[in-house]
């Protein structure tokens, strides 16, 4: 939103002198679309009732895993960071404890996904589907999603323990929450796997 200027910057030529046109690149659009989807899921989920505080499906995990498998870790990290930031701004939790926990979870999940992708590798659609990678070498969305969900919950619990409630009874909360994370992580993995399969069978 720069005001029109008479002075032409050196090195600039074109119809609008003094104005820099930011053209979104392909990657920017991918990040924006995926982040929008992740934010929508994130916000919708907060409306769901939950039996235990902190227990939620975490369907935005699907988007992170899809971003990782299709576009790489950089895109996944952008999507995760934007989801946490925009989601907190929409819900009014920016810089609150909720936000800190959310950011810790997303960071944990992205670190583990990055390590998994680098050290183990990615098999986009599981066994028998990767013609290029050989039969199912690396982690499919199933394993990636489960690992990400557990890392997300683990990081959240760790930060909650360190910052908010360093009490021995914390274990009673950790066991069921990690179990729920494993269940929902597996579910997210199946969803991600299905979406990638649809994506692959669609005519390009």
């Amino acid at each position: 939103m720069s005001p029109p200027s008479d002075a032409t910057l050196p090195g600039m030529s074109g119809a609008t002198p003094g104005t820099t046109l930011l053209r979104p690149e392909r990657e920017d659009l991918q990040v924006a679309a995926l982040a929008a989807l992740a934010v929508a899921l994130h916000v919708l989920e907060t409306a769901l009732p939950s039996p235990v505080p902190g227990m939620k499906p975490g369907l935005a995990n699907v988007v992170t895993v899809l971003a990782l498998v299709r576009f790489g870790w950089r895109t996944a990290a952008w999507v995760g960071a934007l989801r946490v930031l925009v989601g907190s701004l929409l819900l009014g939790t920016f810089l609150s404890p909720t936000f800190i926990l959310s950011a810790a979870g997303a960071t944990g999940a992205l670190v583990v996904l990055g390590l998994a992708a680098r050290l183990v590798g990615i098999a986009p659609r599981g066994r028998g589907a990767g013609q290029h990678d050989g039969p199912g070498r690396g982690l499919s969305p199933l394993g990636l999603s489960l690992a990400a969900a557990l890392a997300h919950m683990g990081a959240q619990l760790g930060v909650a323990w360190l910052l908010f409630v360093p009490h021995p009874a914390f274990l009673y909360l950790a066991a069921p929450l990690m179990t729920a994370a494993a269940a929902f992580g597996t579910l997210s993995g199946i969803i991600a796997w299905r979406i990638l399969e649809l994506d692959a069978t669609e005519p390009a």
Binding site: V120, G121, A123, G126, R127, G128, G136, R137, G138, L139, S140, P141, L142, G143, L146, A147, L150, P168, A169, L171, Y172, A174, A175, M178, T179, A182, G189, I190, W193, R194, E197
Partner: protein, 125 residues
Amino acid sequence: MSRPLPTPADLVVFALAAVLLAGLHVLAWRQAGAGPVVTARVETPFGTRYLPLDRPGTYRVRGALGESVLEVRGGAVRFVDSPCRAKVCVRAGWVREAGALAACLPNGVVVTLTGPGGAYDAINF
């Protein structure tokens, strides 16, 4: 639509997750079994001792005048005897609430129950 099949690497992740969850549950279970332990804090002129109330027995503690005899039974503690004149401590009877206390002031022996919960932070007479 084909069913999602895990790769060998996926199976390793599943196995690690199962071990992690089993470990967490075992830890939580063990911690739950322990339960809160109430102890009797015994203050004497010669130092402080702690008696666990889940171990019945008779204990002798040295005070300013001589030996006080404490008995622990059924999660409670009492003065059986003390070398004082009024025997207020013995008449106080069994002490079983967290925060409650019995004391033999002449002998300088104060028994307080410490532990989570309890209706009182402290009881004084």
